[in-house]
């Protein structure tokens, strides 16, 4: 433990804690625009400077560890004056576009400028002449609004190991861009959107497609249906003042109906179907020796893109099963359309997702058009939905609870936990156990694979046999798992795992790139807790128990991995170039 004084208050913190963190203990918030709790200090903005007794310099609080006996001043007139100058310098290089900006009212720079009460522009305005890059059709890079804090670059390179974004040029001309100054769409970018989620300003935002949805909702010729992903329900409340992790599923159903959707489905239903397919796939490979182990999950489009670009040697291990919202999409335009006698061409499927990569997934290959037309028409992020709610003037907080529409709306606890790391694996194992044993596990919660550890490894006993599983999230953790598989491949030894789950974003979808801003581990944990709570409250907690799923197979699909299922619910993968130009 280290004892030191911050603004004359004696505080005690663990060894290695930065002054910025330590100051929170003294109820002091030191301003910063580059330090993010997820990331190592970048030391770029220069706002977090503090004074340490005995040193003439001012030091950065974000990257200076507190040391025994330090006496720190976090605020005095000179420090504040320097911070103010630095802020004004940032403003001199930032457009005054606040009103039209994707981060208006939710921008870290804007907030600080307001806090500092900056009323004039002291310095001449110099704006970089760089065009917006919306080539990915998922996230929009507006380098002119970039304050070069480096968060996105660190996220892309270190947290996600994608290396799509980097700094180009130097000095005043430094800017973020894919290496080689190419378009983001031609870069290794996997559209995970973590950059947009960590950006303090509006330099990287999701492509706003709410207008397309409004248009479809207005069109009397269209039949708009909607589905919400598991992680959305526990995050949307953050935009409306709810405690973090509050499960708002039923309010969302009500809301979506009021927005004008004719049917409100739940992606969790699709997740239950996924488990039927993927679980069966696993049993086939594991128990019947058809196909290779380990089976690797495929419901995360960021991960699929990453694998196809960087690890195509893993294609054979991949589950061919589509992701839950694609399953709901295709079923809406086939099964639902038939039952309700609606022309599938008139159906517009909107997915509300915690994810920016979903915007890309819906057009990723021909199997996404299995219904005969595009299975999911628009994927909106949680952030976009929050804006739609506000535009519609709906008093979200006081909405009554409603239920989802039947056939594609009811879900089990296994379906909802898809929204957090370890959830897909847990859900699959619940059903795999049943398929192998004929009965459910005694203890249905698999705590070994819950939580925020980067790689979680566990052994599950089924029928006296051990099933080895690995769960990784945050793409920088994936290499560890893949290398073990590759080594076993090379050495001809037994595979280290039978089943592997990967989600591209830290924490899984609860920490997705389309979720409300300001994500931290604390937030991820709370959102995940909301999801697990929802699971516990479900009457059925295993996908195979979902009566509507059972009905679906009986009436429409036949059996898992059957001909119709293969046609509608499965896809395939191919190696893609890391750089497409």
């Amino acid at each position: 433990m280290i004892k030191a004084k911050i603004n004359n208050l004696l505080i005690e913190v663990n060894d290695g804690v930065s002054i910025l963190e330590a100051a929170k203990k003294a109820q002091i918030k030191i301003p910063t625009l580059c330090k993010h709790p997820d990331l190592p200090p970048g030391a770029g903005c220069g706002l977090c400077i503090v004074r340490i007794k005995g040193t003439p310099k001012m030091l950065r609080a974000c990257c200076t560890p507190l040391e025994e006996g330090m006496e720190i001043t976090t605020h005095d007139p000179e420090i504040v004056a320097v911070r103010r100058t630095v802020l004004e310098l940032i403003l001199s290089n930032h457009p005054n576009d606040c009103l039209q900006c994707g981060r208006n009212n939710n921008c870290e720079l804007q907030t600080l400028v307001a806090d500092f009460g900056i009323r004039d522009e002291s310095f001449q305005k110099f704006l970089p002449n760089v065009a917006k890059d919306d080539s990915t059709r998922t996230i929009v890079l507006d380098a002119q609004k970039c304050i070069r804090c480096g968060r996105c670059v660190t996220v892309c390179q270190e947290m996600q190991n994608v290396w799509a974004l980097s700094f180009l040029d130097r000095g005043f001309c430094t800017r973020i861009s894919p290496a080689g100054d190419i378009k983001l769409a031609d870069s290794p970018c996997i559209r995970c959107g973590q950059c947009s989620n960590h950006c303090p300003t509006g330099a990287i935002v999701e492509l706003d497609e709410t207008a397309r949805v409004w248009e479809a909702l207005q069109d009397e010729d269209k039949y708009c249906v909607v589905q919400i992903a598991p992680a959305v329900r526990v995050a949307i409340g953050e935009a409306f003042g709810y405690p973090i992790g509050t499960n708002l599923t039923k309010k969302l159903y009500a809301l979506l109906r009021r927005l004008g959707f004719k049917a409100v489905f739940d992606t969790n239903f699709g997740a239950d179907v996924t488990i039927m397919e993927e679980g069966s796939e696993f049993i086939q490979r594991y128990a019947h020796g058809k196909g290779t182990l380990p089976l690797i999950t495929s419901c995360c489009p960021g991960w699929v893109d990453f694998m196809e670009k960087f690890h195509p040697d893993m294609i054979n291990y991949f589950s061919s099963c589509k992701s839950p919202h694609e399953i709901v999409g295709v079923l809406a335009k086939t099964y639902y359309a038939q039952k309700k006698n609606i022309d599938p061409k008139k159906i517009v499927v909107v997915s509300i997702m915690p994810c920016t990569a979903k915007k890309n997934e819906i057009i990723r290959c021909e199997e996404m058009y299995a219904s005969g037309c595009q299975d999911v028409d628009v994927a909106l992020t949680t952030r976009e939905l929050a804006r739609m709610i506000k535009q519609a003037g709906i008093d979200f907080n006081n909405l009554p609870d409603e239920e989802a529409d039947q056939m594609l709306g009811d879900y089990t606890g296994a379906g909802v936990i898809f929204g957090t790391t370890g959830g897909v694996m847990e859900a699959a194992l619940r059903s795999a156990y049943f398929m192998l044993n004929g009965k459910n596990m005694e203890k249905i919660e698999l705590n070994q694979i819950r939580g925020l550890e980067g790689v979680k490894v566990a052994e599950i006993q089924i029928n006296g046999k051990k099933i080895r599983v690995a769960v990784a999230h945050g793409l920088n953790h994936v290499e560890y798992v893949l290398d073990k598989i590759r080594k076993a491949e090379k050495d001809g030894t037994e595979m280290p795992y039978h089943f592997v789950e990967v989600m591209a974003c830290l924490g899984g979808c609860v920490g997705g790139g389309g979720q409300p801003y300001g994500v931290t581990d604390e937030l991820r944990t709370k959102r995940a807790a909301g999801i697990y709570q929802n699971d516990e409250n479900c009457k059925q907690r295993c996908s195979h128990e979902n009566p509507f799923v059972q009905q679906l197979y009986k009436e429409f699909l036949g059996s898992p991995l059957g001909e119709k299922s293969e046609h509608l619910l499965h896809t395939h993968y191919r190696a893609r170039p890391v750089y497409s130009k």
Partner: protein, 579 residues
């Protein structure tokens, strides 16, 4: 051959009368029938300045200075003929330069390791590995008081001790040869003239801290230095001075070269490390210091070329010997690249504590023209200007800092009345703006904004409130920049504001540049009395700003004139006024 050899040179500032004196000498020698026994020689430079006629008599090793015309006869008769010394004329001044770092530069063939060995090369390494007490080397360095010559002046022994004491099996040493200050080329001189002295220093550093791998980080713009270091390394490997079991000991050490791609900021140690690792060359926060977490996260000692060239002599001659040179807090010698408006530009190595005046006048030979000295700039773009009234300040780390400049790596630029201090500040700041890595706001945007303000001022658009803005940004840069480049980039502006505020006022209030440097503030006009109507200015003006005819005379239109100065240059009658 028993000829006496006499060298003469008139070192006065006024017109050089060496030739007259030469004739006098010749006559006197002839009169005394000495012409066959004496060879008299006029030299271009005798190494003494502003001491009138200087006469050096070879063999007797006698130097006379301030010799009056009438005293020549006495010299010929007494000293040359009879071998008697004339005490009153003797010039006695200890040599101003002391060469430790440059001990072999210009002496030995840098491409031949044997010549280095012949100058006691690698004896220090031998001594170290035979004794096999690395701590003793650090102890000796502590005694010597050697401080890092790269600029900041951190005690070398402490850096080594900290690196040595970090518990880690793999450690590295790096020679920082990414010299980049404008006008500074000390390291280039050493690497090109005596690469082995630096290599030996680096091996000793490795031995002292317990590293078995070293890197030379040399800027690619020094191709000859790179070539010579490569050759020297190959020779050292060939001779078993690098590799396994060096000099029969169990010490193994290897050195590789890495080339810097031209970024000034890569001279900053954490950026340099990033660059060697193959990453973007940007500084990272310290702590952790490289001595704890450096190259590939291993403890690393980074030393500048000049620092390393000092190591072998210290080990051989002892720390006490070194500590006897210099001042109380700044020991040893410092190499400076003396440039600017000084007669003898070049590399000089002087003991710490020598005054700027001695460097400029006694070694540099004084000013190149009759224009008065205005200031000396030290420390490159991180330094400041020292006005001529402080020329008698003894040069050491602390004194220069007190004056608002820094020792820096050793650039020393002499400025005269033709140098505009606002323009100088703009030049150095412009350099830092170009070379900023762009990582942190104060340096990236602050520097750019300051430069824009200086541009405004030198273009005659400045306002007095701009001075306040300059000061405000300078403070933010000094306090909130991440690395030394940003923290010091405003120094040239701050120090010129401090000492030459009047020049800023000239530019802002009177719209005048007293040094006629800032071309936007210049006005060219034709002095009609002197003009011979030759039309040369009109023909040469690139923008046709001059009009008129032979009857009416010619005029410069200031609205068209681009202040290129062509008319001023071409006029043979000094009929163009520049003000």
């Amino acid at each position: 051959m028993d000829q006496k050899i006499v060298f003469i040179k008139d070192t006065g500032i006024e017109n050089d009368r060496t030739k007259d004196y030469y004739a006098l000498f010749l006559n006197l020698l002839r009169e005394n029938s000495l012409e066959d026994q004496v060879q008299i020689n006029r030299v271009a430079d005798i190494g003494i300045y502003n001491q009138g006629l200087v006469v050096k008599i070879f063999e007797q090793d006698v130097i006379y200075a301030n010799v009056k015309e009438e005293q020549i006869k006495e010299i010929v008769l007494k000293t040359i003929k009879e071998g008697k010394v004339i005490k009153e004329l003797l010039f006695q001044s200890p040599p101003k330069q002391l060469r430790i770092v440059l001990r072999n530069c210009g002496e030995i063939d840098p491409e031949n390791i044997d010549e280095y060995i012949a100058k006691d090369g690698y004896q220090a390494l031998n001594k170290a590995v035979q004794e096999n007490k690395p701590e003793k080397i650090i102890e000796e360095l502590k005694k010597s008081g050697l401080r890092g010559r790269g600029g900041a002046g951190f005690p070398t022994w402490l850096k080594w001790k900290l690196t040595r004491e970090t518990p880690e099996a793999q450690k590295y040493v790096i020679c920082n040869a990414d010299e980049g200050d404008p006008g500074a080329y000390m390291d280039r001189g050493v690497l090109e003239g005596d690469p082995h002295s630096v290599i030996e220093g680096l091996i000793l550093a490795g031995f002292a801290i317990g590293a078995n791998k070293g890197y030379f980080y040399v800027r690619a713009e020094y191709p000859l230095a790179v070539q010579r270091v490569e050759l020297a390394l190959a020779q050292a490997y060939d001779h078993g001075l690098l590799g396994k079991n060096i000099l029969g000991s169990n010490f193994n050490f290897e050195i590789d070269i890495r080339l810097g791609a031209g970024a000034f900021v890569c001279g900053e140690e954490t950026a340099l490390i990033a660059s060697i690792e193959g990453r973007r060359g940007t500084p990272r926060p310290r702590p952790p210091y490289p001595s704890v977490k450096g190259l590939w996260d291993k403890p690393t000692a980074i030393n500048n070329v000049e620092t390393l060239a000092n190591i072998a002599p210290i080990i051989l001659k002892g720390g006490d010997w070194y500590a006897a040179i210099g001042t109380e807090k700044s020991k040893g010698t410092k190499v400076f690249a003396l440039t600017g408006k000084v007669k003898n530009s070049g590399l000089v190595e002087v003991p710490m504590g020598i005054t700027l005046r001695e460097i400029v006048y006694d070694i540099g030979g004084g000013m190149i023209s009759s224009k008065g000295i205005k200031a000396v700039q030290t420390g490159g773009p991180s330094g400041g200007v020292i006005p001529q009234e402080y020329l008698d300040t003894p040069v050491d780390y602390e004194n220069l800092q007190k004056l608002g400049s820094i020792m820096g790596s050793g650039g020393m630029i002499v400025m005269d009345e033709d140098d505009c201090m606002v323009d100088i500040a703009k030049f150095y700041l412009g350099f830092c703006v170009d070379e900023s890595c762009g990582k942190c706001v104060p340096c990236r945007i602050g520097g750019y904004q300051m430069l824009a303000l200086l541009d405004k001022i030198t273009e005659g658009q400045g306002k007095l409130e701009d001075i306040e803005k300059l000061k405000r940004i300078a403070l933010a840069m000094q306090k909130a920049s991440l690395c030394a480049l940003g923290q010091t980039a405003a120094n040239p502006v701050v120090s010129t504001l401090k000492y030459f505020f009047a020049e800023y006022q000239d530019h802002i209030v009177d719209k005048k540049c007293r040094s006629h440097k800032c071309k936007h503030l210049l006005n060219y006009s034709i002095i009609q009395d002197k003009c011979k109507r030759c039309r040369v200015c009109l023909i040469n003006c690139p923008v046709n700003a001059i009009s008129g005819d032979k009857e009416q005379g010619f005029l410069v239109d200031p609205k068209i004139c681009i202040r290129c100065g062509k008319c001023y240059e071409v006029c043979k009658f000094n009929a163009i006024a520049k003000e």
